[in-house]
C-alpha cells in the first residue's frame, strides 16, 4: 500500500470547492494499520478513493489481510 498511482485528479471537494491534494492518510482493516498517500480535501479532510484503487490495490490488501 505504499504506492498511490494517481497523485492528481480533476475531482475537487464540492463543499469546500478546493482542489484535492496528496497526503498521508491513516487506513485500517482487521489487524492492519497503515499510512498511505491518498488524495484529500485540504480543508475538510474528505478522502477520495477512485474505483481503480478500491477494486485494485485496496481489494488486494484487504484479501491478504483476511488470509493472514
Amino acid at each position: 500500500m505504499n504506492e498511490q498511482t494517481n497523485t492528481t485528479t480533476v475531482w475537487m471537494c464540492d463543499k469546500c470547492q478546493k482542489a484535492l491534494m496528496s497526503q498521508k492518510v491513516k487506513v485500517r482493516y482487521l489487524e492492519g494499520n497503515f499510512e498511505v498517500e491518498l488524495l484529500k480535501c485540504p480543508e475538510c479532510n474528505m478522502v477520495f478513493i477512485g474505483e481503480d484503487l478500491a477494486l485494485g490495490k485496496i481489494l488486494e490488501v484487504e484479501k491478504s489481510l483476511e488470509d493472514k
Binding site: D14, K15, R28, I49, L55, E66, D67
Partner: protein
C-alpha cells in the same frame, strides 16, 4: 478440530493408491507414467521411467517375466496391457547411454557380495550408490550368472551393461569360490555380507521382510531366497537386501515402513464396468514399432480412483482430491505466521455431500469442510468478506422487516367470510370455519422462496388451510416467516445459530409442538441438524397427500429433467412426492445421471456464490450441460442459480400454479435488493390480506428519484451492493454536501460508510433526478481527520 483424526481420513483415500500392475511389479515400475510417455511418443522419457525402478533395465526389460500383466484390469476388456512388450520396444527406441558416473568417496562401510549373478550385481550397485565400498566374489570368470542363459539377450549387450559395475569402482574378485567354511572369515572382514549364489550348502532361515539371517550381518537374496526362477523377483530381492544392509550398518530400524516392498496388495479396486473392450495390438516385427507401441499404451486405463473429482467441479477447479485436500486443510489450520492460502478453497465447497456418495470408501468432504469453517471462525481466521453479505441478509430476514409468526385467523375474526356463496366455493373459508385454535401445522416457507416466489406464498397458505382442515379438522395451520439459519451454518458461524434456532424452538413449544411444513430443502437440512425434536414435512409431501391447489391447470405435455436439491439427497419420500406431482400434472420426466442421492449442487450451497462466484458458476455450468431439456427444480435457490446460467428452469410451484408459460420470454430472477423488498412486501401483504392487520410502511422515503440503467443494476449485483446502500449514500451526500465534483463531466462522487463497508456512488444530478453512473465499495476504513 482433531487434525490427526483428519489426517487418518486422508490416508484412507485411495486416490494415490497404485494400480494392480504396479503393486504386482516386484520393483514397482511406474506403469502409468511409463505408458503416458509412450502415448506422447516420448520414448526417451519412458526409458527414464523404467530406469528409475528397474536395475539393469536394458537387460531386465528384455527378459522380465512380467507378473504385472497377469493382474492388469484390462485383462477382461480386450486383454492385459503388454507391458513387457512395451518395455522391449522402449529400450529399442528410447535407450540413452548413462552419463559418466561421478566417483564418490565410499566411506559408509564395507560390504562383500558373494555371487556375481543378477541379484548380487543389483545389491552391489545399489550399495555403491549409497556410498559403500563393495567387493563382489564370483566363482567363475565373468559376472551375470544365469543372464547368459537367456535367449533374448545378446552376449555383447550383457557385457556392455555389466562392464559398468567395475567402472563405478566396485571391486570384483573372479574365480573365487566362497564356502560355508570360509564365509565366517568374510563376516569378520566386512561390515555386512550379501549371499546371492544360486545354491548353498547350508539352509538359512531368512527374515521374509529384511532378508537378514537372525541378527547377524548376513543377508540372503536372489534365487536362494525367492525360491523361484523369476529374474524380476531376484532383482527385487537384491534391491531390498541393499536397503536392509544400509539400515543394518547405519543402525536404523530394520523394519520401519517396509510393508510395501516387493509385491503387495493395492487398496485400489478399479471398476471396469463402463470400459469398452479394445483388443491388444499385435506386433508386426520382433518389437512393437513406434506406432504400435503408442496404440498399445493408449489401451492402458491409467487406473486410479477419481470418482469424487469426476463428480465435483469444486475439486476440479482446485485440482485436488480428499487426500491432498485434507493435507492442505491441516497445513492451513496449523500455520501460525503467514498466508492461509487454502481459505478460498475451503470456502468454495458447497457442502453438498456428493463426494461421499460416489466414493467407494465413503470419504466425504462436507463434514470436514464444515468443521474447518467453524474452526476458522473460532480462531478468528475466517475471511470477513466471504460471508458478510449473506449473513447481513439473514439478519434482515430475522428482523421485523420479514419475520412473522401467526396462528390461523380465528373463527371470530373470519366471520365475514362465512356466508353463501363464499363458504361453498372457498375451501379456505371452510377451513377457517372449522378453526380449532390448536396449531397442528406451521407453514414455514423460508426466506429464499419468499424472496423469489413471493406471489405464491399467500395462495399456498390458503390452500393448506383448506386442504388440511378438510381432512383433519382438529389441526389449524399457522404461518411463520423467517430464516432458519442455514447461511450461518454454512459460514461456520455457530454463534449466530441461536438467533434463528432458539426463536423457532420457543415458538414451537408455545404453539404446542406443531408439525412444520417446509418448502425449502436447506431449511429441512437445518431443522434436521439443529431442531431434531421438531416434526417436519415437506410442502410437496403435503401436496401429494392432501391434494394440489385447484388451479386451472393446462396439462403440460413436455419432458422436463428434474434437478433434485442436494440437501434432500437422502429423502426418498420427498423425491417420490415430487415425481408424483410432476406426473400428475402431465409432464414426463427425464432423470439426470446425477439425481436423487447423487444430486449435484446448483452452486448456492455453502454460500459459494458469495465467497467465490466463479466457482458457483462452474457448478451451474456443469449442471445445465447435463441435459438439453428445461429443468424442473423444487428449491428457490436452485432455480435462481440455473436461470442465471441462462437455463430455462421452473420451480415445481410454477407448474403447479400453471405459470410455465411464455416460453420465448427470457426468464428473470429478482435482484438482491428486490429480494429484500419482496420479503418486506410479503409480510405486509399477508398481514393485510389474511390477518386484517395494517402495518405502516417502514421504508424510508427520499425526495430524490434514482435512475439506474441495466448495466448499473448488474454491477450492483456483482458487487453485492443493495439499492438501499446507494440511496443512503446519495441521501447523505445531498444533505451534508459531502461529495466530490468533477468539473469536466459535472458528475458527483459520494461515499458513506454503512457498518463495515464504505460505498461509493458516482452520479449526475438534475433537479431531483439522480442518475447513477458507477457504484463500488471497499472494506478498508479510511480515517479522515
Amino acid at each position: 478440530m482433531d487434525l490427526d483424526k483428519l489426517l487418518d481420513i486422508s490416508n484412507q483415500c485411495i486416490h494415490s493408491e497404485p494400480p494392480t500392475c504396479v503393486a504386482s511389479c516386484p520393483v514397482h515400475m511406474d506403469v502409468i507414467a511409463f505408458v503416458s510417455e509412450i502415448e506422447k511418443g516420448d520414448f526417451a522419457k519412458a526409458y527414464k521411467v523404467m530406469e528409475n525402478k528397474i536395475p539393469f533395465s536394458r537387460l531386465i526389460g528384455k527378459i522380465c517375466d512380467h507378473p504385472c500383466e497377469r493382474v492388469c484390469v484390462r485383462e477382461n476388456c480386450g486383454g492385459s496391457i503388454r507391458i513387457s512388450e512395451l518395455e522391449k520396444s522402449v529400450i529399442d527406441l528410447g535407450y540413452m547411454p548413462p552419463k559418466k558416473p561421478l566417483l564418490m568417496p565410499k566411506t559408509k562401510g564395507t560390504v562383500a557380495v558373494i555371487g556375481g549373478g543378477l541379484s548380487g550385481c543389483v545389491t552391489a550397485v545399489e550399495l555403491d550408490k549409497k556410498g559403500y565400498k563393495v567387493t563382489i566374489y564370483e566363482k567363475t570368470d565373468r559376472l551375470g550368472g544365469s543372464l547368459w542363459a537367456h535367449e533374448g539377450l545378446e552376449a555383447s549387450l550383457i557385457e556392455e551393461e555389466l562392464s559398468t559395475i567395475e567402472k563405478k569402482g566396485i571391486s570384483v574378485v573372479y574365480t573365487t569360490e566362497v564356502t560355508e567354511q570360509t564365509l565366517q572369515t568374510y563376516l569378520q572382514q566386512y561390515d555386512a555380507l550379501y549371499l546371492g549364489t544360486s545354491e548353498w550348502s547350508k539352509h538359512y532361515t531368512i527374515h521374509p521382510q529384511t532378508l537378514q539371517v537372525d541378527d547377524s550381518a548376513l543377508f540372503v537374496g536372489g534365487k536362494l531366497q525367492t525360491q523361484n526362477p523369476s529374474v524380476i523377483f531376484s532383482a527385487s530381492s537384491g534391491k531390498r537386501a541393499a536397503v536392509s544392509i544400509d539400515r543394518y550398518i547405519t543402525k536404523t530400524s530394520m523394519s520401519a515402513s517396509r510393508e510395501r516392498e516387493g509385491v503387495f496388495e493395492t487398496k485400489l479396486e478399479f471398476k471396469t464396468d463402463n470400459v469398452t473392450p479394445v483388443e491388444s495390438v499385435e506386433k508386426t516385427s520382433a518389437y512393437y514399432a513406434e506406432n504400435e507401441a503408442i496404440q498399445e499404451a493408449k489401451r492402458c486405463l491409467k487406473c486410479q480412483c477419481t470418482e469424487c473429482i469426476k463428480a465435483c467441479v469444486h475439486m476440479q477447479r482446485f485440482n485436488i482430491t480428499p487426500d491432498s485436500y485434507i493435507r492442505s486443510i491441516n497445513h492451513n489450520e496449523r500455520i501460525v505466521l503467514g498466508t492461509r492460502s487454502a481459505n478460498l478453497m475451503i470456502n468454495s465447497c458447497t457442502e453438498c455431500g456428493l463426494c461421499k456418495e460416489v466414493c467407494p470408501i465413503g470419504i466425504g468432504m462436507k463434514e470436514i469442510i464444515h468443521a474447518t469453517r467453524q474452526s476458522m471462525v473460532e480462531r478468528k481466521k475466517m475471511p470477513l468478506s466471504a460471508h458478510d453479505f449473506a449473513l447481513k441478509d439473514m439478519q434482515f430476514s430475522n428482523s421485523d422487516a420479514f419475520s412473522l409468526i401467526r396462528k390461523q385467523p380465528s373463527k371470530e375474526a373470519s366471520k365475514n367470510l362465512f356466508y353463501y356463496p363464499v363458504i361453498a366455493f372457498s375451501a379456505y373459508a371452510r377451513g377457517l370455519y372449522k378453526g380449532s385454535s390448536k396449531t397442528g401445522y406451521l407453514f414455514y416457507p423460508g426466506c429464499q422462496l419468499s424472496s423469489t416466489h413471493t406471489e405464491y406464498i399467500g395462495d399456498i397458505y390458503k390452500h393448506l388451510v383448506g386442504a388440511i382442515k378438510n381432512k383433519d379438522a382438529d389441526n389449524d395451520v399457522g404461518l411463520y416467516l423467517g430464516c432458519c439459519g442455514a447461511p450461518a451454518d454454512w459460514a461456520g458461524r455457530l454463534d449466530l445459530m441461536p438467533e434463528s434456532i432458539e426463536k423457532i424452538h420457543k415458538t414451537w413449544q408455545e404453539m404446542d409442538e406443531p408439525t412444520f411444513i417446509l418448502a425449502c430443502s436447506s431449511c429441512a437440512a437445518t431443522f434436521e441438524k439443529y431442531l431434531p425434536m421438531i416434526k417436519t414435512i415437506s410442502l410437496w409431501e403435503v401436496f401429494d397427500t392432501y391434494g394440489l391447489p385447484e388451479v386451472d391447470i393446462k396439462k403440460g405435455k413436455r419432458e422436463l429433467c428434474i434437478h433434485d436439491a442436494c440437501a434432500t439427497r437422502h429423502n426418498s419420500k420427498l423425491h417420490q412426492s415430487v415425481r408424483h406431482i410432476v406426473k400428475t400434472l402431465g409432464y414426463t420426466i427425464q432423470e439426470l445421471e446425477y439425481s436423487k442421492e447423487k444430486a449435484k449442487c446448483c452452486g448456492y450451497g455453502g454460500l459459494v456464490s458469495n465467497a467465490n462466484p466463479e466457482q458457483a458458476e462452474d457448478f451451474v455450468k456443469d449442471r445445465i450441460e447435463e441435459s438439453e431439456h428445461d429443468v424442473l427444480v423444487y428449491c428457490a435457490m436452485c432455480k435462481d442459480a440455473l436461470v442465471k446460467g441462462s437455463k430455462r428452469a421452473y420451480h415445481l410451484l410454477d407448474i403447479i400454479y400453471g405459470n410455465e408459460v411464455n416460453q420465448d420470454e427470457p426468464q428473470k430472477m429478482p435482484t438482491l435488493s428486490e429480494r429484500q423488498n419482496n420479503r418486506k412486501r410479503l409480510k405486509y401483504k399477508l398481514l393485510k390480506e389474511i390477518w386484517n392487520e395494517e402495518e405502516s410502511d417502514m421504508s424510508p422515503s427520499y425526495n430524490f428519484t434514482l435512475h439506474l440503467c441495466d448495466e448499473i443494476v448488474a454491477l450492483m449485483e456483482k458487487r453485492f451492493i443493495l439499492l438501499s446502500d446507494v440511496e443512503k449514500v446519495v441521501e447523505h451526500s445531498l444533505t451534508h454536501k459531502e461529495r466530490f465534483f468533477n468539473p469536466q463531466t459535472s458528475d458527483y462522487l459520494a461515499r458513506l460508510r454503512v457498518q463495515n463497508v464504505t460505498f461509493w456512488v458516482k452520479y449526475e444530478e438534475q433537479g431531483s433526478d439522480i442518475t447513477v453512473k458507477d457504484v463500488y465499495s471497499h472494506r478498508m476504513e479510511v480515517v479522515e481527520d
